[in-house]
Amino acid sequence: MTTSHSSGRAPGRRLARFVWHHKLVSLSALVLVVAVGSALLVTWIAPFDPYAQDVAMRNRPPLTPNPDGGIHLLGTDPLGRDELSRVMLGGQISLTVAAASVVVSGLFGTTVGMIAGYYRNWFDDVVGRLVDLQMSVPSLLIALLVLYVLGPSFVNVVLVLAVTRWMVYARVSRGLVLALREELFVEAARSLGAPGRRIIVRHLLPNILGPILVLATLELAVMMLTEASLSFLGLGIQPPESSWGLMLAEGREYLTSAWWLVAVPGLAILLTTLSVNIIATWLRSRSSQAQFSKVTIGEGI
């Protein structure tokens, strides 16, 4: 028996082929693996204690050796903390906030959108108006207002981010469900006596999951940027915790004397969001859902 040229090979060869054909996607995946990996393992692999202050070593440029051994690869911050360890710690919170808010807004928005699209009753009208209303107001403004009232905390930041972005999922899932509900298999389920809840969960959800997951990937980048903006403006993550946006804000006043305090978290934000976007675009091009338009998912915050 002969095997076809792609299936019979060792996994390593196939991975190599994939990397060769999708260089940019592979690079993005690598960046994400490094970002997520260092965020998860920061306690074990950080070169220095990210909370340990050393005023004698404040604002040292990258590659400065520490007198107690080791090298501050990315320099130190105004409190003498190792910038590399700080950026790993910041990534932990930035990525967690982004992931958590994507999950919350995705679950809520998709549920609402599917219910609205399937039943097409008063609920659909209410949701439609609400989405239009929220689309017309800059979401960062809403987020700032709500956080100002509630007070910044991890949970509040996640909830606020979810509240400002749920309608993206609601719109996409509603649109997909509007098309799917006319399919005969939905009619078949109704004629079997399936209640609406069952049709939504068993028949509609599995058929819209692909596009929704791609959308969620894109939203991950949006959420990271929004969290960075909120923290930069002082209403997101609070010290002594750290996030990339907060590090950016803290480094701003030293911009002329210590460029790495802005460049390092800035690059971290840039590289991860860019990688997420590249992977999301690739995933979208792979999914065959034609009705999954760029318009519905293209807008940023």
């Binding site: 399919e183 005969l184 298999f185 009619e187 109704r190 079997l192 006596g193």
Partner: protein
């Protein structure tokens, strides 16, 4: 006299409103007795499928009365309607879009059982599904596959098994063979005839030509423009059609013998050219 299994009276369904209003079903009435097979024939757009969907209340009729097994189908709602739904089931025309591509065959067929008997043990459900598969001529090892792995005819068998899972008394077939290969059509038609006998099923069989209805249905209703033009036994319709539309449909049935088919076509062509007065 016993009461009919299905009683339809003055059924009307309108689409649109104002000047664009269309009466897709216009004052349709008929009865179907237990064990009978009624053919519903007409060209596309004549309101056959809309009638079927109104009867099963998959779309709401504008007016009229539907009695299924003595119960008023249109007065019920919610759980009571869902219970009654198991009495009448539908087989769809398109075996592709009528099966959820993400579900396995086992889940598709078992769905009705799981809806109406949620507490049934999974082994009982599986046994019933296997029986249903055998009933429609599929093998039990097909259970874990998705619809994409099957041909049109096999998919239609899955759809039939799904409809039969609830042990319905009435099976409404909406052009179940229209989108299948001719060679498969006969198999599916035979399956219906076989199932009817074995399960004592009552059939409402919708088709757009008279030939497929002929050996399945004892009584035939001819529909045009939302109205029933003629309803009668197979012998009446085929041997002594009263309405001109019925005669036109009869003329469109291809003759099995190519020589008589050619003669028929030639006769029609000459009739058409003299009528139109073309050179």
């Amino acid at each position: 006299m016993t009461t009919p299994l299905l009683q339809v009276r003055g059924l009307v369904r309108e689409f649109g409103h104002g000047p664009g209003l269309v009466r897709a079903v216009d004052d349709v009435s008929f009865d179907v007795m237990q064990g009978e097979a009624l053919g519903l024939v007409g060209e596309s757009g004549s309101g056959k499928s809309t009638t079927a969907r109104c009867v099963l209340r998959l779309i709401e009729p504008t007016a009229g009365e539907v009695r299924l097994d003595g119960e008023d189908m249109l007065a019920l709602g919610g759980p009571a309607l869902r219970r009654l739904r198991s009495t009448a089931q539908l087989v769809f025309q398109d075996p592709y879009s009528s099966l959820n591509p993400r579900m396995t065959v086992a889940d598709i067929i078992a769905e009705g059982i799981r809806i109406h008997r949620p507490r049934e043990s999974s082994t009982t459900v599986k046994d019933e599904v296997v029986d249903l598969l055998e009933l429609v001529g599929l093998r039990p090892d097909h259970l874990t596959r998705k619809p994409a792995a099957f041909s049109g005819g096999e998919r239609q068998r899955i759809g039939i098994a799904r409809a039969l899972a609830l042990k319905p008394k009435l099976l409404v077939c909406d052009e179940p063979v229209a989108s299948l290969d001719v060679s498969i059509q006969a198999q599916i038609l035979n399956l219906f005839a076989d199932l009817r006998e074995r399960l004592d099923l009552t059939l409402v069989y919708i088709a757009h030509d008279l030939s497929t209805v002929r050996h399945l249905c004892g009584r035939i209703a001819v529909m045009q423009d939302g109205k029933i033009r003629e309803i009668g036994t197979r012998e009446q319709i085929y041997e002594d059609p009263q309405h001109e539309y019925t005669r036109a449909l009869m003329a469109a049935v291809p003759e099995p013998d190519p020589r008589s088919e050619r003669a028929k076509l030639a006769a029609r062509r000459s009739a058409q050219t003299t009528e139109a007065g073309r050179p």
